[in-house]
Amino acid sequence: MASIDIRNVRKNFGVVSVLHGVDLSIENGEFVVLVGPSGCGKSTLLRMIAGLEEVTEGEIRIDGMRVNERAPKDRDIAMVFQSYALYPHMNVAENMSYGLRIRKAAREKITAAVSNAARKLELQPLLARRPKALSGGQRQRVAMGRAIVRQPKAFLFDEPLSNLDARLREQMRAEIKKLHRDLGATSIYVTHDQIEAMTLADRIVAMHEGVVQQVGSPLELYDRPANLFVAGFIGSPAMNFLSARYEVGAGTAGARLPDGTLIGLSSGYQLEEGAAVTLGIRPEHVEMSPASESRLRATVDLIEPTGFGIILHLGLHGLPFNVFTLDRAALTAGPTVTVAFPPQHLHLFDETGMRAFETSPQKGKG
């Protein structure tokens, strides 16, 4: 087990700059999830930690030791690839034991490690099979098995579940979580999947265009996104945004929408009077048919039942606006509804897209 330190790491491919100075400290035993849109450099960062890509600038330390110049084989980490990358000419047992065999481990130790991992992942009946003869889920488990037999310092996962169907993905997600609980190994996990990120992570690292946007626990990112990017990226369906102007009245603060409606805020913000702001509210926090004063009328464009709840696609002053509700009455909503925004669930972002700070800080850090 190990800690991993990433210090001001940059990566250029030729003239193209992909990572612009990433700083990240990962503690021993922590499960860190990297999320971000396609092409933001998640895989590149992971591959640099593994030693598969050179570090253009900055430093990567594993257990305090600089590893920039170390070959992958000397970093003692394991990686699970999206394509699994199982060796096609070796059977499951050989695939799993390859790392130990080339490290010349004792035969009894290898057998023990393989059967141990096989038991954990329920691979015993498949040990003699070639990868070709396995289903996607089984291949995925073999890839996991290959990673855990070596008991490496850290695990790296690059979208390991994205080739599985939804049900299997859920199942493997739970297995990975259990595995991490049992092994307690430092893990870095790249994913596109919101739920994977939220459920697995001790901490989430949200990246965008080669820059880390926010690092924090899943709920921190959900409750207090640091900027518009994180606010829009975390959560599904995505957060709604409305442009407004910040106003302070006698003891109360509000955001004035272009149509003149004043939305009440729960506290004052460190903003100038009249500053342009973006108001954010998650679809699941919008109140429907409320008695509140600052309510808005919206047209219903589309109703999407998900079984668990209902997603309403609304038009608010001509702009798309989503609401998520558990109330089945919404199925027959329309043609217009009234919505209101509970002040405690509103997010306020300044002109530069950064989260605005409250003047009287709430609980938790800003």
């Binding site: 593994a50 030693g51 598969l52 070959a71 992958p72 084989k73 970093r75 980490i77 394991a78 990686m79 690839f81 394509s83 990358a85 199982l86 060796y87 096609p88 000419h89 390859y98 790392g99 080339i102 490290r103 290959r146 070596r150």
Partner: protein, 277 residues
């Protein structure tokens, strides 16, 4: 549409059949003449099979001609060329497939360029180069020349096979603790066996049947390869077709055996680029 597709299939099969017949007929004729006794060769007219078969030509070729020497020489030259070329082409093909290095583009262009000249143009310069080195009239000289001529194509062939093997396999091996060379030897190479078989087969046949350079660089029987040897059956006044064809049939044997041996890999190999590894 169904009747059309049946018709189309039939037409397709027929076309293939015609082609196969066309391609195999010379081989059949080779066999036929080789078992035709001399006295029947010109007297029977055109027949598909002689009225009387005999193996006298084979007996003569094996016992009384220099053919066994030619055969041995060819085995040495073709075998050595195939092995050396495949070895070198594996390494260079791997480099072209996996590494980016300065001058790569020009290297590839240069290798393509070597493939554009008619070989006849090169006979004289090559002779000039080899002769002071004592490599004319020697099997080593032939191996050197054949190796040089076959490497570019073999390299491209091997490169395409390496391209078909996902990089991630090597990366996984490296993370598992392998050096780059170990990953190459233990992961990539076993998966490239079809490609290696195809390259071996291709180069072996090319070297086995090469005539031009063998003819120009070799004089005398001791270092002659079998295609040159075949010409010894042509004398000033006559061609001994029976013996020539018998020698030809015998020369086919190693090539056939070789392909039989690698066929299993080859079938995989020639389609390996098409499906994702």
């Amino acid at each position: 549409m169904n009747s059309y597709s049946t018709f189309g299939t039939a037409l397709h099969r027929l076309a293939i059949l015609c082609y196969v017949l066309f391609a195999l007929f010379p081989l059949f004729w080779l066999l036929k003449v080789s078992v035709t006794p001399n006295d029947l060769l010109y007297s029977e007219g055109v027949r598909m099979w002689p009225s009387r078969m005999s193996f006298e030509h084979f007996r003569f070729v094996l016992a009384h001609s220099a053919f066994p020497v030619f055969f041995r020489n060819s085995m040495i030259v073709a075998g050595a060329t195939a092995v050396i070329v495949t070895l070198l082409a594996s390494l260079s093909g791997y480099a072209l497939s996996r590494f980016t290095f300065r001058g790569k583009y020009w290297l590839v262009a240069l290798m393509l360029l070597t493939q554009m000249f008619p070989l006849v143009m090169l006979v004289a310069p090559i002779f000039k180069m080899l002769s002071p080195l004592g490599l004319t009239n020697s099997l080593t000289g032939l191996v050197v020349v054949y190796t040089a001529f076959n490497i570019p194509f073999a390299t491209f062939l091997m490169q395409s096979f390496f391209d078909g093997i996902p990089r991630e396999l090597e990366e996984a091996a490296k993370i598992d603790g392998a050096t780059r060379f170990m990953a190459f030897r233990q992961i990539v190479l076993p998966l490239t066996l079809p490609g290696i078989a195809a390259t071996l087969g291709f180069v072996f046949t090319a070297a086995w049947s090469e005539l031009l350079f063998a003819l120009m660089l070799i004089s005398g029987n001791s270092a002659a390869t079998f295609p040159v040897g075949l010409l010894t059956f042509v004398s000033k006044f006559s061609v001994d077709f029976g013996q020539m064809m018998a020698a030809g049939v015998l020369a086919l044997v190693p090539a056939c055996l070789f392909f039989l041996f690698i066929q299993r890999y080859l079938v995989q190999g020639l389609t390996a680029g098409a499906v994702k590894g």
